[in-house]
């Protein structure tokens, strides 16, 4: 039921965009820009990414006429941003560099004995549900702070997969990474967030 409503909402929005309705553009910009920025930031620095996303929206005004709905609107927009960002990279003759080596975060790796058992196991069980925890402003600020320190490649992978709920193969296409490298990026980013949340829960400090 929810999916049907969601689909028809998206169809209405697409119709509005095709007819050049300004209110629908405002709605779409608000909903889809965070994900588009996550894509652009994978490839580009922040100010170039912002420019690329702005340019994309201007392109979308005409390009939406050719949107046939073979993918969802979100995936279509993310692919446009990815292509534009890759063009920027090519012009600047730069490449994305990501570390796909060790999958265990060094801080977590230090918590095991040489025999592979826990030396410093997790001491607390996080049992409060995520929605009520997010009402804690300090935790939300701390998450922002730690997300900002993640390498762009890890942060974009995390945002597209978790926050914008793309399927793995969509994320791989948009970010031009193999499935196994995506797994590495996700796991490394999640461990960092896990370590941050654990410290926050234990000490109340970021």
């Amino acid at each position: 039921m929810e999916t049907a409503t969601h689909q028809s909402d998206e169809e209405l929005l697409i119709q509005g965009l095709k007819s050049g309705n300004e209110a629908d553009f405002r709605k779409a910009v608000r909903v889809y820009t965070p994900g588009m920025m996550a894509v652009a930031r994978y490839y580009l620095d922040n100010s170039t990414a912002e420019e690329a996303v702005q340019d994309c929206w201007v392109t979308v005004i005409d390009a939406i006429q050719n949107f046939e709905g073979r993918s969802g609107l979100k995936t279509w927009l993310h692919r446009i941003v990815a292509n534009r960002s890759k063009n920027h990279l090519r012009k600047a003759k730069r490449e994305v560099s990501a570390d796909f080596s060790e999958t265990l975060d060094p801080e977590l790796a230090n918590r095991f004995r040489p025999n592979g058992r826990w030396a410093t196991p997790p001491s607390l069980r996080f049992d409060e549900d995520a929605e009520s925890l997010m009402e804690n402003g300090a935790l939300s600020d701390c998450l922002d702070q730690h997300l900002a320190t993640l390498p762009e490649t890890q942060r974009s992978a995390l945002m597209l997969y978790e926050a914008h709920q793309h399927k793995s193969n969509d994320v791989c296409n948009i970010l031009d990474v193999s499935a196994s490298n995506l797994r590495v990026l996700l796991h490394r980013a999640r461990q960092k967030i896990f370590i941050m949340v654990e410290k926050f829960q234990e000490t109340g400090e970021c």
């Binding site: 820009t33 095991f112 592979g116 826990w118 939300s140």
Partner: protein
């Protein structure tokens, strides 16, 4: 035999259901015997939920405002061009 450190290395794949059947069985067997790893997996899952709840709230208002302005400008320019052509 799967050790705690090995489990930590593949924990994300396990919670996303991306492990092969043999590895999945090894993880489940290990979790039956190891309370620390059960807590670790539970907390890692919880951190992922927290990320989802957090990130869906975040919008850069200043960027959205700038994009709205550019889109409005372009829509107006397009409408006036269309007007001229008739």
């Amino acid at each position: 035999m799967l050790m705690c450190r090995d489990l930590a290395r593949i924990a994300s794949d396990y919670i996303d259901g991306e492990l092969g059947p043999m590895d999945t069985v090894s993880v489940k067997m290990h979790l039956l015997m190891c309370g620390h790893c059960r807590t670790f997996i539970g907390n890692l899952r919880h951190s992922v939920d927290l990320m989802k709840a957090h990130s869906s709230q975040h919008v850069d208002e200043e960027l959205v405002r700038r994009i709205d302005e550019r889109v409005t400008e372009s829509l107006n320019a397009r409408n006036s061009d269309n007007g001229k052509s008739y």
